[in-house]
């Protein structure tokens, strides 16, 4: 249903992608780990490669978990679609859009 | 519309526990036969099934002076139920339906 208001009531999103230039917001969720209370939100360039995303954003956050290490293995998804990661692909190429949910599940 | 199985729902009032309010608490206890009184830090919770009444004359006889029902404002902390009446002589808390 439409909002009931006195006169026109139409405002742009305060989080719309254009406010972030060539970047976008992305969410990162380690599904099967309660150590992190919630998924993280990052501002990341659309053209950032997966490798840079891993090294520059994922690893520093996940390192807050003392049980995380270089040997931790994950399966990944973007907006519930499984992705096989390719370090040289950009987030855009992997289908990551504004406020997409990049989720992982640690194995073993 | 009442069905025989319908549970009588409780109403209640929380009053600040103080010397001034003692007369009110005693009056409520005296005028509401089925009430239960629970003391908590700083306050007293009085609950009754269905209906709770505070009578001016009962409070006055314990207080030894005139008491306006408005003065109940100084004593009440919270309540549950519906204030169905608040006039010169009494305050009634109950569920309506």
């Amino acid at each position: 249903m439409a909002v009931r208001a006195v006169g026109d009531y139409d405002f742009p999103s305060r989080s719309r992608q254009e406010l972030y230039g060539d970047d976008q917001l992305v969410h990162l969720w380690w599904r099967n780990n309660m150590w992190f209370c919630a998924a993280a939100c990052f501002r990341a360039p659309k053209a950032m490669t997966w490798g840079d995303f891993r090294a520059g954003m994922v690893d520093p956050l996940f390192s807050c978990d003392p049980d995380f290490g270089p040997r931790t293995r994950f399966e990944w998804s973007v907006d519930d679609q499984p992705v096989t990661r390719a370090d040289s692909q950009t987030l855009a190429e992997l289908g990551v859009g504004h406020k997409s949910l990049i989720a992982c599940r640690s194995l073993g | 519309m009442t069905t025989p199985t319908k549970k009588v729902r409780e109403v209640g009032v929380d009053l600040q526990e103080s010397e001034e309010n003692r007369a009110i608490i005693e009056a409520v206890e005296a005028d509401n036969a089925d009430c239960a009184v629970r003391h908590m830090p700083g306050l007293v919770r009085i609950t009754t099934p269905g209906r709770l009444v505070i009578n001016r004359t009962s409070v006055e006889s314990r207080l030894g002076r005139d008491w306006e029902t408005h003065e109940f404002q100084l004593a009440i902390v919270s309540y549950f139920g519906h204030i169905a009446e608040w006039d010169d002589d009494q305050i009634v808390i109950q569920w309506d339906h």
């Binding site: 208001a5 006195v6 026109d8 405002f11 | -």
Partner: protein, 339 residues
């Protein structure tokens, strides 16, 4: 556990809240300041009002009259809630004592006929004017920008219902406890010719969109009305053997003196504002230009009716009050001399 408090001097880490220390310097702030200054939210409002999508939830653009730093205005009376209700509890208590005295001495019943008619037919109906004044002040409480300004409006709103109730209680007393006289007073408010210009003005101020313009208009009307009903007629009543009227009027007159303190201060702050001063002065002058003629007609009609009853030169009294109100506004809004 026992602490040796006497031997322990604990230095406070700070004297007050950070914003007040920044504003006033590192000194303990008063309870008025802590409870009144910079309390309203000012930024990052989440949603626009459904009932007014053009504005933020708190928005200085709701009036032409603005202050660069709204919290630089403070209530000269330093009223926050506790001293405010305490002062009003005293007012109502003193008024009740007066009513009680009037009742015991039968002073209302013994009012000379014309004075009783004036009180019942022209003054008691002003309880509705006060009620309208309450709504106009309440509007300022919601839409003024800044907590120190709106707080004054808020208490003024409550005062106006209080005044309406004072007058109503006189009506009950004059009607020997029944509310019949109040019903007559209401009929007079909605029908008597002498009161219609005032009712019209009250209603028109009620739909004025700019809260500060409405408040200014109300104040100009108040200046004439209070001068007539509770100052000039008060004196005339003493001369006319209607001491009971005077005893009632004094309470409203002293309330109005209290009210003027914050209104005067606010109008002065508007006119002196470093950024908006000139625009504020122009808006004040325009509001006065708009309202004064109507207020003079409205209160003039009341004065004429009063003169018919008690012949107390009310007309000139209203004209004098209007002249005084105009000079106040002129003094505030005159272009400042270059320094």
């Amino acid at each position: 556990m026992q602490y040796e408090l006497r031997t322990l001097v604990i230095e406070p880490r700070r004297k007050t809240f950070t914003n007040l220390a920044e504003r006033y310097g590192d000194r303990p702030a008063s309870r008025y300041e802590e409870g009144s200054v910079e309390i309203q939210a000012t930024e990052n409002f989440h949603y626009r009002p459904l009932w007014d999508p053009q504005h933020e939830l708190f928005d200085p653009r709701w009036s032409e009259l603005r202050l660069t730093d709204p919290d630089s205005f403070t209530d000269p009376r330093q009223y926050y809630y506790a001293p405010y209700v305490t002062a009003r509890a005293h007012l109502h208590e003193a008024f009740a004592a007066t009513l009680d005295y009037l009742d015991k001495r039968g002073l209302l019943a013994r009012l000379p006929g014309p004075w009783a008619a004036l009180l019942g037919g022209l003054v008691i109906p002003l309880r509705h004017y006060e009620s309208g004044a309450q709504m106009i002040s309440t509007y300022g409480c919601r839409f003024a920008y800044g907590s120190t300004v709106e707080q004054c409006c808020s208490y003024a709103a409550f005062d106006r219902v209080g005044n309406a109730q004072l007058l109503s209680r006189v009506g009950l007393a004059l009607g020997d406890g029944s509310d019949a006289l109040l019903a007559e007073a209401k009929a007079a408010w909605t029908g008597a010719a002498a009161l219609q210009p005032l009712r019209r003005l009250t209603e028109e101020l009620l739909v004025e969109k700019d809260w500060a313009v409405a408040l200014t208009g109300l104040d100009l009307t108040d200046q004439l009305l209070y001068a007539l009903a509770y100052r000039h007629l008060d004196e005339a009543a003493l001369l006319g053997g209607a001491g009971g009227y005077s005893l009632i009027a004094q309470h409203l007159a002293s309330w109005f003196a209290d009210q003027r303190r914050w209104i005067d201060a606010l109008q002065a702050a508007w006119a002196a504002d470093p950024q908006y001063g000139a625009a504020n002065a122009a808006a004040l002058a325009a509001a006065a230009e708009q309202v004064m003629p109507r207020a003079q007609v409205a209160v003039g009609a009341l004065a004429a009716a009063a003169d018919e009853l008690v012949g107390a030169d009310c007309g000139p009294a209203v004209a004098a009050a209007a002249q005084a109100a105009r000079s106040t506004i002129t003094a505030l809004t005159a272009p400042k001399e270059a320094r």
